[in-house]
């Protein structure tokens, strides 16, 4: 395995892929921990899928709008999609986060239904916009299932930048994020700007989702966001240790998944998720008898804590 990995590392695309996996795992471990402890998996899924609308928008603008507005310019002649789809995805995911967050906080009934509808509308917009982009065959699959092997330098820089942003924001607003995650009502009474902090959290989820889309693809984003924290939540206690372990697990899963995909010529995103899923099942088996901190309390409180 070591030899195969060393051999694989001779390729630039493989080095880029490993680096992308590493960088994404950091944001994923941190943000995924909030998603899991605050139980907002569904809304995160909504944001991820609605972001697809932005991909479509990116292609449409690049191939239909730019050539008209800036005819003859270098940008118009460049056949590659460049940063347009990424930009569109960032825009759409942030928009979806703002909208869904607003709905979840303001609407009393059926917020999940509305989020589900937005989830679908976002994707549909993306598909239709790609249809409307004539003369260019967009590789939809690469966004649905990820294309970690095609990550370019520019994207690595964007992902690294987003990582820095996420780490900085979480450090700055740690106590507010914790309070809002644990008990929104009490945070409100303490005059914490709960709406703003919640929007910040959803915004960071949106950015993380965009990064992840490249690595494991839209469809598997949620797995990558939730599996590492779900495992670490069984093994360690406390938010910060959970984030750290989740990031490490993320690195392990992407590296191992990548190696499997390289060795057997499998889809990289799916390989990564299967490795992660296997890890989760193993953690369930390992901590089943109340050994883990989150499985322990209920037993511990009555049996041996008195």
């Amino acid at each position: 395995m070591i030899n195969a990995l060393a051999e694989a590392l001779q390729f630039t695309f493989m080095r880029h892929a490993l680096l992308a996996g590493l960088l994404v795992s950091v944001a994923c471990g941190i943000i995924g921990t909030y998603v899991v402890v605050k139980r907002i998996v569904f809304i995160s899924g909504g944001i991820a899928h609605a972001a697809y609308g932005g991909i479509g928008l990116g292609y449409y603008v690049k191939y239909m709008v730019v050539p008209v507005l800036f005819a003859g310019s270098a940008a118009a002649r460049d056949p590659r999609p460049g940063y347009w789809p990424l930009l569109g995805a960032i825009l759409f995911s942030l928009l979806a986060a703002a909208l869904m967050g607003h709905i979840q906080r303001r609407t009393r009934q059926r917020a999940d239904t509305i989020i589900g509808v937005l989830w679908a509308i976002g994707m549909a917009i993306g598909i239709v916009l790609v249809d409307l982009t004539r003369g260019y065959k967009v590789d939809l699959m690469s966004y649905l299932f990820g294309s970690i092997l095609a990550v370019e330098r520019l994207e690595l820089l964007v992902i690294a930048g987003l990582d820095v942003l996420v780490v900085a924001l979480v450090t700055l607003f740690y106590k507010e994020l914790l309070a809002v995650s644990f008990d929104e009502t009490f945070a409100t009474v303490q005059n914490v700007p709960v709406g703003g902090i919640y929007a910040l959290l959803l915004g960071m989820i949106a950015l993380t989702v965009v990064m992840l889309m490249r690595v494991v693809g839209l469809i598997l984003v949620i797995a990558m966001l939730t599996i590492p924290p779900a495992i670490s939540g069984r093994l360690v206690r406390g938010i910060v240790p959970m984030m750290a372990l989740s990031a490490l697990l993320g690195v392990a899963f992407t590296t191992l998944g990548l190696w499997l995909s390289y060795a057997w010529n499998l889809t990289s995103g799916a390989s990564i998720i299967l490795v992660a899923g296997t890890g989760y099942l193993l953690s369930l088996l390992a901590t089943r008898r109340g050994a883990g901190p989150s499985a322990g309390p209920r037993l511990g409180a009555t049996l041996n804590r008195r």
Binding site: F173, V189, P297
Partner: protein, 278 residues
């Protein structure tokens, strides 16, 4: 203990800490609270009882600025609730929490200091002192490193009380403080509240008439209308007005101080009448 340094002085001039006048509130066309008037004075220990759905939690929400009243005025320490609520330590119902949440006792209690440290300000050693004091006060300092999910119901309730105390409030508001604990633990929590009441004004809402009425200084009944005049016992009229139907709580051991015999008679009368009608 800066904010609550002079309990005796406060007791003497009986400052009004909560003032509610002609309050109407609700979530739709039908009001949950109607024409409620309430005056809470420093170092009061008030228990508000009433049936489920009678508006107890709604009243707390209004006092905490979580729900805007449709009509009427509410002030806390003479200020509108949005700013006045910084004087309030709030203890929500324990059942509302996710006990799998990976957080330690210390970190939960420290949230009581959030009001003193706006975003971008770090907790200081003064905060640590206040949190330690609060946890010591409820006898939970030794367990500060425990995860909240590892505690028993009574211990958890103490932590939430410590969280409220950590902000060094003038007023404690508690929502069903003993709803999820057994009677022995319930007693210990009321004993604790009685001690705390030497320095802090306390108001709690509960449907558990028996437990409440043996510890509080004054009682009220809430069922859309509030029946409270600062008296230390429930009158039959109040109970009749608040509980418009007979309730099972009356059956099991109600203290005599509150339930004077005629109150029980009143309820008996009410039951008879109900049976006659049906």
């Amino acid at each position: 203990m800066t904010a609550i340094a002079e309990p005796v002085a406060i007791r003497n001039d009986r400052t009004e800490v909560i003032h509610v006048e002609d309050l109407w509130a609700g979530y739709g066309p039908e009001p949950v609270l109607e024409a409620v008037n309430l005056h809470v004075y420093a170092l009061d220990f008030i228990g508000i009882i009433g049936p489920n759905g009678g508006g107890k939690t709604t009243l707390l929400k209004v006092l905490l600025g979580l729900l805007a009243p449709t009509r009427g005025t509410v002030t806390v320490m003479g200020e509108p609730v949005a700013s006045g609520r910084r004087h309030i330590g709030y203890v929500p119902q324990v059942v509302e929490f996710d006990h799998d949440f990976p957080i330690s006792v210390w970190d939960v209690a420290r949230m009581g200091r959030l009001g003193k440290r706006p975003p971008l300000r770090r907790y200081t050693s003064a905060d640590d002192d206040a949190v330690a004091d609060a946890l010591r006060r409820v006898d939970m300092l030794d367990l500060r490193r425990r995860a909240i999910g590892e505690l028993s119901g009574g211990q958890r309730q103490r932590v939430y009380i410590a969280r409220a105390l950590a902000g060094r409030p003038e007023i404690l508001l508690l929502d069903e403080p003993t709803s999820s604990v057994d009677p022995r633990v319930s007693t210990s929590i009321y004993e604790l509240l009685r001690e705390l009441n030497e320095r802090v004004t306390i108001m709690l809402v509960s449907h558990d008439m028996g437990a409440v009425s043996s510890y509080v200084k004054s009682v009220g009944c809430l069922n859309r209308h509030l029946f409270y005049h600062g008296q230390d016992h429930l009158t039959p009229e109040m109970v009749e007005l608040a509980y418009q139907c007979p309730i099972d709580l009356v059956a099991h051991g109600v203290p005599h101080r509150v339930f004077a015999e005629h109150a029980i008679e009143a309820i008996q009368r009410y039951r008879d009448e109900e049976q006659r009608r049906s």
